[in-house]
């Protein structure tokens, strides 16, 4: 069972309050009409599925209902850091 720190509520709560919401940093294509079927497939279906430290989205479903970012190990489940959206804007690598 995970103990997750919500960066908005600023409290660590039981995992049962949260729902996982998939891999982070998948940006919707900026020119949807201009890209190929392969690029669409990559955006919609293909995933990194990284083994190791992995950035993902969680939503505080039974709390503030906001989405945020979590870096978590997919090997040990250890949560390394949490961040609100937008924190990555001025950094090359979060």
């Amino acid at each position: 069972m995970l103990l997750i720190h919500c960066p908005y509520c600023k409290e660590s709560r039981d995992q049962s309050e949260f729902s996982p919401a998939g891999e982070a940093f998948i940006a919707r294509p900026k020119n949807p009409e201009g890209i190929s079927d392969e690029e669409w497939a990559d955006y919609v279906f293909y995933r990194t599925n990284h083994k190791g430290n992995h950035w993902e989205q969680w939503v505080h479903a039974n709390g503030c209902r906001k989405y945020f970012l979590v870096e978590r190990s997919t090997i040990s489940h250890q949560i390394l850091q949490v961040a609100p959206f937008g924190a990555r804007n001025n950094e090359t690598e979060l």
């Binding site: 069972m1 995992q15 996982p20 293909y46 990194t48 599925n49 083994k51 978590r72």
Partner: protein, 416 residues
């Protein structure tokens, strides 16, 4: 030296103080093979077996990072059925079920395949409409299936709770009489032994650490037991498919999740069939040993850890108690998780890739065990002919680009 199992060999080994022949030789890899199969689970071993038996390719190695049958093959709840909704999926799973029906004789290994029937319960009107639709589709596809009502279920399974006052009352079910269970790791041992008897090298404790690709063609693998060359490589590594794909510079439309199961203490026969419920999220059967085998759902987050969250187990236990209040005092014995490779449409990928000579058989998600012989069979033909077996054609990885998905979430999404 391996000999055929028979009454005579049983008697001889029994009388001579269990002097059994070695089932599978422990060997070191050669430097080159015609085909390398990565992953010594049921699907991979079946692929190697059918390559040697039906495709005339005997110079095959199966490389397994652990021991055979030690991954998802030995971690699932062993349910076998073929009552899928879509034509493509039901044809593939029915092909597998027909192979199951003759597999013990074919392999000369008792995989304890027991066709004890599978019930998929419906708890509301929409469930029942979906069940009737699926049963009709099954019948049109030549798959045996019937709709049964709550009274018939109660007659067949007296311990089930069909009270109208239940939180999720049982209105009926689909029933596939030819479905059932099998000995999970038995199928891996059987395929491994039969394959090694016709020339396949099964190399355990041999982890692939890189896949060599030159000018878009696969050349071989680097393993913990040295380099092995091959012009054709089949990846059948379930939860670790994305890891292997990355070695070859590919991405897959797959995410790995933990799927959990648990068993009770062994007890006297109480449940003679398999009961599954998508709506309450649990499925149960009783093994030949006597323990109740209960399967849960997946955790929503990605993981390679072979363990999941407690709340998922609690949820499955609650669902089972809802169906079978009699089990409320049953003590649970063990609980574990396996890493399943989930595809967006809950259907597998059996496909060549952009890398020439590299094939993937993955994405079976939460329900691959039932397909073991069929999966290996169509994948072997796909590798041997460099052309997809007709049953595998709809499962090309390009379906995620063309949009021709095979949406099986209704029949496959939750319960297996």
């Amino acid at each position: 030296m391996q000999t055929k199992y028979s009454w005579y060999s049983l008697l001889k080994a029994g009388l001579s103080g269990q002097d059994w022949d070695q089932a599978i030789p422990l060997i070191q890899p050669k430097s080159k093979y015609d085909v390398i199969i990565i992953g010594g689970g049921g699907h991979g071993l079946a692929t190697a077996y059918y390559l040697a038996k039906e495709c005339g390719i005997n110079n095959v190695a199966v490389v397994e990072k652990g021991y055979i049958g030690g991954g998802n093959t030995g971690r699932n709840t062993t349910i076998i059925r073929s009552n899928y909704l879509r034509d493509e999926a039901s044809s593939l799973y029915e092909h597998a079920l027909q192979l199951w029906e003759g597999i013990s004789e074919d392999l000369n290994f008792n995989v304890m395949f027991s066709q004890r029937g599978v019930y998929n319960l419906g708890h509301n009107l929409q469930n029942m409409r979906d069940i009737e639709r699926r049963v009709n589709a099954n019948v049109l596809n030549g798959v045996d299936a019937v709709v049964v009502d709550a009274n018939e279920i109660k007659q067949q399974i007296p311990i089930i709770n069909t009270s109208k006052n239940a939180r999720y009352p049982i209105l009926g079910a689909s029933y596939q009489a030819r479905g059932g269970v099998a000995r999970h790791d038995g199928i891996a041992w059987g395929f491994a032994r039969a394959a090694s008897m016709i020339g396949v090298d099964i190399i355990q404790d041999c982890e692939v650490i890189d896949i060599e690709v030159e000018e878009g063609r696969v050349k071989g693998v680097k393993t913990t037991k040295g380099e092995i060359k091959a012009d054709r490589i089949g990846c059948v590594s379930a939860g670790h498919s994305s890891v292997l794909a990355k070695m070859a510079g590919l991405r897959l439309p797959i995410e790995s999740h933990p799927l959990q199961a648990f068993v009770s203490e062994a007890m006297k026969p109480v449940l003679h069939t398999v009961v599954m419920s998508n709506a309450v999220h649990g499925y149960i059967s009783q093994s030949d040993k006597g323990d109740l085998v209960v399967g849960a759902g997946i955790d929503g987050y990605n993981s390679y850890a072979q363990r999941g969250s407690t709340k998922i187990v609690e949820h499955a236990a609650a669902a089972i108690l809802e169906l079978f209040p009699i089990f409320s005092r049953v003590r649970m014995n063990r609980q574990w998780g396996g890493i399943v490779d989930v595809c967006p449409d809950a259907c597998p990928i059996i496909s060549p890739t952009k890398v020439e000579g590299l094939y993937f058989n993955c994405g079976w998600g939460t329900g691959g065990f039932k397909a073991t012989p069929g999966s290996g069979n169509v994948f072997a033909h796909t590798i041997a002919q460099d052309k997809q077996h007709p049953l595998a054609e709809p499962f090309h990885i390009d379906r995620f680009t063309t949009g021709a998905l095979i949406d099986e979430h209704g029949a496959a999404g939750v319960a297996h």
